[in-house]
Symmetry: C2
Subunit: 416 residues, 2 copies
């Protein structure tokens, strides 16, 4: 048995390309894990590959634009210090798009995960498929592609975040209730976008739920193999569940649908047909409506960003209806999160989307409910934290998932 780092072995079973593909992936993940501080000899030592194999794999990764040699050298005991290796910042780029209820956003990252471009365009997407959808997507995607070209990067794929259930295999949106989409072939629609023709974009498009992608934007927690629930507040409320540093998608990829947890079986009617769903208390339109603004979906209700600004303005100004609506939202979130914590015994909840901005108004209520309802709270109070990124989180997580795909399976990129 050749000793592998057990974490590398566990998380990355052999992929395409047999032994060579497996070993290229192993070498690239070593570089990714210790970028800038590892040499060819270091890769040999930590993988168990012999030195000439490790060296030729590294050469292949350099040739393919995935790894670069640094000027600095890795200190070593004797002789000439070996050359340090790092992930390339001029190779492949991942494009993330987020088609949300009231905005479209794009984010570009390079192989190191660094953000190279981001852009959010507010526009109500409800009921749109094509050509209205194509217009806003073409606008943000066109800017992103121009930024990729200007930076000398190569587009390696596109991941699209959708607020609903998707079928990742077929590229179809099964149901995005707040968008009014049902069984929409979104990948086909996106392939019809003029500005994107002739780009690799059209060949490699993946979909996922926006909260799942948003959860992947918390790079520091992922890297530390943390477990957390990322709650993404928009018109709807979704969550991305990460267990031990890995996104948990469930059987069909539909995990994290906390927006339809029941708070009160006799509560207000929800779009899903049931009563008293979390979204009816803690979605952004529910908070607005509780604060006194009549919220008819799609009829001039402000999008999430301006809505949050309004809500904060009213609450900070002491408007009691707004303050009560926020307390109600926080308590409803707290009841549902306590349920999630009782089921999963997690250390941490991350509040993203509108909850990131509203945190100071809702966290006290969330913590009160969690303290009262999570049976383990007396011995281990979970952390209720805010997300690192605001509205760009889903697009950023989507873009990172594209480059992570290359790190997991570099041969697919190298043999493209």
């Amino acid at each position: 048995m050749i000793p592998l780092s057990s974490r590398v072995a566990r998380r990355h079973p052999a992929r395409s390309g047999g032994l060579r593909g497996h070993n290229l992936g192993l070498a690239l993940r070593c570089v990714a894990a210790s970028s800038g501080t590892i040499s060819r000899a270091g890769i040999s030592a930590s993988t168990g590959l012999n030195r000439s194999t490790a060296s030729s794999l590294v050469d292949e990764l350099i040739c393919g634009g995935l790894v670069r040699e640094l000027e600095g050298r890795v200190p070593s005991g004797v002789g000439r210090p070996p050359t340090a290796l790092a992930l390339s910042e001029t190779g492949p780029a991942g494009l993330g798009l987020d088609v949300s209820v009231d905005y479209v956003s794009a984010c570009v990252v390079d192989l190191t995960g660094t953000i190279r471009h981001r852009h959010v365009v507010a526009q109500d997407q409800r009921g749109h498929d094509s050509p209205e959808l194509l217009g806003s997507v073409a606008s943000v995607a066109g800017d992103a592609l121009a930024a990729i070209a200007a930076d000398g990067l190569t587009l390696s794929g596109t991941a699209v975040a959708v607020p609903g259930l998707v079928n990742r295999e077929s590229g179809r949106v099964i149901l995005a209730p707040n968008l009014g989409w049902c069984d929409l072939d979104l990948v086909e629609v996106l392939r019809g976008v003029d500005v994107l023709r002739g780009h690799a974009f059209g060949e490699n498009i993946t979909l996922d739920n926006e909260a799942n992608f948003a959860a992947l934007s918390e790079e520091e927690l992922l890297r530390a193999d943390q477990s957390y629930l990322y709650v993404n507040g928009q018109v709807g409320v979704g969550a991305g569940l990460v267990l031990g540093g890995e996104l948990y998608r469930g059987r069909h990829g539909w995990s994290g649908e906390v927006g339809h947890q029941s708070i009160d079986r006799d509560g207000p009617r929800c779009g899903c047909g049931q009563r008293g769903c979390l979204e009816q208390y803690a979605g952004h339109e529910a908070i607005l409506s509780g604060a006194g603004m009549s919220a008819t979906p799609g009829a001039g209700v402000p999008g999430a960003r301006p809505a949050v600004d309004l809500i904060l303005q009213w609450a900070d100004g002491g408007d009691q209806r707004t303050i009560d609506a926020l307390a109600r939202a926080g308590a409803a979130l707290g009841v549902v999160l306590a349920g999630c914590l009782n089921l999963l015994d997690l250390d941490r909840v991350v509040l993203g989307g509108i909850y990131r901005e509203l945190a100071s108004w809702i966290i006290p209520e969330i913590e009160r409910e969690v303290t009262g309802r999570f049976v383990g709270a007396r011995w281990a109070q979970p952390v209720i934290d805010t997300a690192t990124y605001a509205a760009e989180a889903p697009a950023l997580g989507a873009a990172r998932s594209v480059v992570q795909g290359i790190i997991d399976d570099p041969l697919r990129w190298l043999s493209r």
Copy 2:
């Protein structure tokens, strides 16, 4: 890289004893996975270990009483067919004890997981620690130890199922509200049981939540790497969550506390201090009380088994209060399970404990709520199934966890 079966490699990272311990485990797991149909050469082929190494590892496992040679031989192409290997049925035994609210039970399994002995004694344990607890535990454990000796087995360890939060490292029960236990050193108490002195029992005792162990009694689902939530109905309601064939315990081992999910924030007061917890609708005393029997905890209320008989007798006889109480329990379970399914997107729920017997009365209500509330239900209706085992499930799962520990790390057993 030596090709390993990725499942074996993923589930069983190297343990104690370095290379030898690792390879012994690898060989033993091959025998466990193909018991009766694998030879020394087969182990060599599926692990990548060379034939003489595989053969000497097998000899060591046979010597240690973990593996035996079968009379039959594995068919092969040419020459004398090689000897088939199987797990030993005369080596180590695992003892599982279940200290529940109203009964104590014991179960003994051999290394193959076959049940060799089981016994349930009805007795209300509320408020007992020692010496009352010791009396009933001594009785069932004494019988189990006698059965182990009579079968020529060797006790390898004891696992104890508890209806509450435990600290597996320290062997303490943190909180078992329905037993009235708080911060109880149960391992220490059990070590005081006379009949158990001088047995390996005293040296190797592990604790876990009873629903966690009950979930491990579903061997067929585990072996098929299934994901499911096992709901164990007793006085309280707990669940064991299995993801991809592995018990998911959470950060502190407190996962699955579904009994305190809120159905109605204005509902009846629960022992946990909150209102409207699932237990207040679907625990066995709640159902009894709904059916018209006054239920003061510990004051002559029948235990789970006689309670279920009474409830079934009344419901089958057409008693409307009982039928309504069962419908209420089913609906409450359905709301909570829909929430769990929305969060985790599971294929399957297993109903254990009292719900196994009450299944025909509660499943229709559960399915109605799940169909209405699980957002994926329209495309993938999850299976709501009954448990394979009745009240013995937690003790059985506990006993199996003991022998699984040997299969995962045989060197600990061999070098005892």
